[in-house]
Point group: D4
Chain length 163, copies 8
């Protein structure tokens, strides 16, 4: 069974990151959540990054704000795919700092970056990564996409009726 780690730099990131946790649970994928701060708990970061693939995780989702080093440092330490979520924290310069600190990784060490505060998409992407070798999860993703479609169709109908 595949398992996803959802880590973040601070408890204040949890309201944003909860969306990743919820969507993964909706796909019946096991999630483990932890606070790992690149800047305040570097030893925990090293321990986590070095061992994640040995603990049965398939994918790591890491969220952080400002000069966000957590996703990139975990990607430096782990051979697993790392998904980075730029979080728009309170003293951020409109989110640009978190986006660029996560996205612009040097050649050799990728981070799969999603939109600013895009934790939901990080969860879906983790499921897609698992789904790329697990037919059952792939089917759930197709069903999920079908659900998105239906919601739009209904929205379109209600608008036409409203006029």
């Amino acid at each position: 069974m595949s398992k996803v780690a959802v880590i973040m730099g601070s408890t204040s990131d949890l309201p944003v990151m909860q969306e990743a946790i919820d969507i993964l649970k909706g796909f019946d994928i096991e999630v483990e959540v932890d606070i790992v701060s690149a800047h305040r708990t570097p030893e925990k970061l090293f321990d986590f990054g070095k061992n994640a693939h040995k603990k049965g995780f398939s994918v790591i989702i890491a969220g952080a704000g400002g000069a966000a080093h957590l996703p990139g440092m975990v990607a430096s330490l782990s051979p697993l795919p790392v998904i980075g979520v730029p979080v728009k924290s309170s003293n951020s310069i409109d989110g640009w700092d978190s986006v660029l600190s996560i996205l612009q990784m040097p050649g050799g060490v990728p981070v799969a970056t999603v939109a600013l505060n895009g934790a939901k998409n990080a969860g879906i992407l983790a499921a897609q990564i698992i789904g790329s070798s697990d037919r059952c999860v792939l089917d759930k993703i197709e069903a999920y996409k079908e659900g998105l479609k239906e919601k739009v169709i209904k929205g379109a109908e209600s608008i036409k009726k409203g006029k």
Copy 2:
């Protein structure tokens, strides 16, 4: 055997995207390359996106510049993980247009975005996605990371000797 599709909006994107192809071949991962333009060949885009997972692909890498819609539209059509490479094309506004057009996808449809012109990292990320369920590829990634380390160590030594 896993297979990766590397598609791009125009032949002019090939010099950038070649790095993804090369790194995947270095990992002995099968690659198929194609030109699919969201704006000039929408039917081909539709056909490609709808069928990629049926043709045995595990991951899709899509590169595009300017108002880059290819990665997001493929992600809309396919249940597979899609990696987006923002390409700094000639009339781009310093690359910001490609970065934001690929990164800022709405909730429900993620694109795993890498750095501007970061095709090499897109290739590594695709390998990591395959490696998350394929021990043999995971080992190759660990070896690759070991190689990166050695190169830095050697660089450090040559600098110390030089002084």
Copy 3:
């Protein structure tokens, strides 16, 4: 009789897009409104884009936020002039993502982009496009511009009196 399609990616775009609908109705131009999501209903997008000019539309107005692909994809599929409205959605990076995703289209596939949240101007521009071959609509635009002028003149007078 000319007819304008006003489409948008999500019902949440309606408060912004309503201004386009209202101004067109004010010019007695027929409007049809629909929700078409490039990312969640790609089949509907294809169907809409391929057939809009056969259904009697003269102009298409498409609004979307974030990595806004709807205007560009409709422009890819339709020979009609497409007006794009960048919508400042909730997780947008200050609107830059929608502006650049719509504006920076590659050579061959233009989108007539208006200001951020500029749906009103999209409606006027659609009327001007119709007016370019319809004397009666052109006259209404001239009258509308005359009205703008009068409002400014009155504002100027009230300020002078107020002092």
Copy 4:
């Protein structure tokens, strides 16, 4: 017969704007070219803007760089649809000044803005505007789009052969 005016702020804009002229001629649409500077020939601007629709023009294409006021001022003076081309001039701040000066028009006075240096797309958009009421031009646009498609298909083939 429809006729398009292509104006620009300076002769130094001509290399960029020539693409609009060429594409319109390719569609057999009559073009008239002129230099009209908002800042150096305001009287000519005024005269041009006030009378363009009386001289048989259907669409105006206006290109300018830096604090680009030409497209917006012509739109202020004329009831015709005005297409603005932001030109990346030598002392521009990476083109942002021309883009924002043309795009961010206030409610009431739209400019149909295309990409930075996107004169080719301005020409196509002008043709689409004419085509929205002229079946013959619409057919040419559909043929043009078909041509774009074929070029991509050929590019894709050559890449596959090359591998």
Copy 5:
């Protein structure tokens, strides 16, 4: 006696522009206020710009938001020094559009640009321009600067006491 014109694109700019009016009155400099919209009242703009120096004005202060063309167009029409105030209007992209539309004027037609919403400084600058040839106004500016200094000194004292 020197006289300053304070014009703005819309009555909604008045709360910002009032600071220019107030500071000039504080210097006992005559002020005339008017609404002149580049985009909605181009004839009034032309008339104002062409004649301001004949009506006894020494300096023109012009405030506008978004694609702000008023200061630049007045500078195009008048030989007088024109001070431009970028106003952060409601649909502005964080004020960047007004700043760049006013600041980045082409060679030959300067606008003396002040900070975003910096109407107060526009008023002081107008007074300094008059003061450059009017000893009495220059003295008032020196006194004003002395006042600024005293306020800071008092603030510093109150902080020291407070600790």
Copy 6:
């Protein structure tokens, strides 16, 4: 007789600032040029700023790049109008640093900012400031503006002939 001071932070700014000197000489206005570095010669800055108005200068033009403090510091010290020229120096971040360091002055201490590298316009603006109380200089500005117009008209003619 009015006199203008043209100062700059470094001899490397001279190629840009020369345009201000040339245009002022073209208007027969006396110019004095000096290097005054806010960061490297603060005492000279202080001395210059405190005494400029006593030495017969009417206007000060100050050019600087990067974190450009020269124009603002001179404005802090002198009651004269100060025109700031943001210079795009070699390690500048695309000129944004010089533009914002000069433009965004706090309330009370204005700098009349011109475009990036806009030294020519700084010279014209200085002439306009002098011209606001000197009929003879005002006439020269009107003649200069007439010259700009003629050049555009000739450019327009040559383009029409060329076609």
Copy 7:
């Protein structure tokens, strides 16, 4: 005994700068607070900068907003290390102006810049500078870092319990 000066351009900067004062007091480091405005009290700035190292200060922390010249001007006048705090003031353009005005100092005159509104970090950095030659302060910094770690560990535990 080492002593730190905390200066700022305006009393309105105090709420932000207080964090620097508090953290330094927490490290038992002597602090002196003053208001010194580069633009409104240039004489006080000169006096302060010229004499700070003679009055027993080891480090200067300077906070300012907008076109923030205080940190750079103090660095120009003093041989001491100067820490600059960009303050996001009310009329700032999202803080970019203060960041760039402080960070982008020319070669020869460094300012140690911290994050936007990062006064707390300025205080810690000042303590680290003192600690680099004072074992006792270095120990306190190590203890402080240990405290940061523990807070994260506790946050992580509470999250795990909460689930």
Copy 8:
């Protein structure tokens, strides 16, 4: 005797970072240079950061480009003051990524950031930090600043002679 560590993420950063080394040697301060990559040699980073203060270093200068994590991660691991140099690397987005990744550190872990490619200033700042408790180094800094002044004075003279 004080000692400074100059580290950088890659040998390609050396041409920029050499300026820090040279200026420190000019102040007769001992320098040790090393390549430490946060992303490719995380163990070396960890070892370096944990032990730098035990090896006799007083200050650490760390340079890196793109998503630059080296300065922040060293600051996380070491109690010493860390000076960060944003390097404008080849695939950087105009340097914004390195600037923001280094500057925008979270509360608790400061990095003393200097200008883009500002390695020379990093060296001077390191000397100033040492000089804050070492009278002899402080004297050298005062002499250095005197030298800067003289160079400007000579530049000013040569310009005046040239005219």
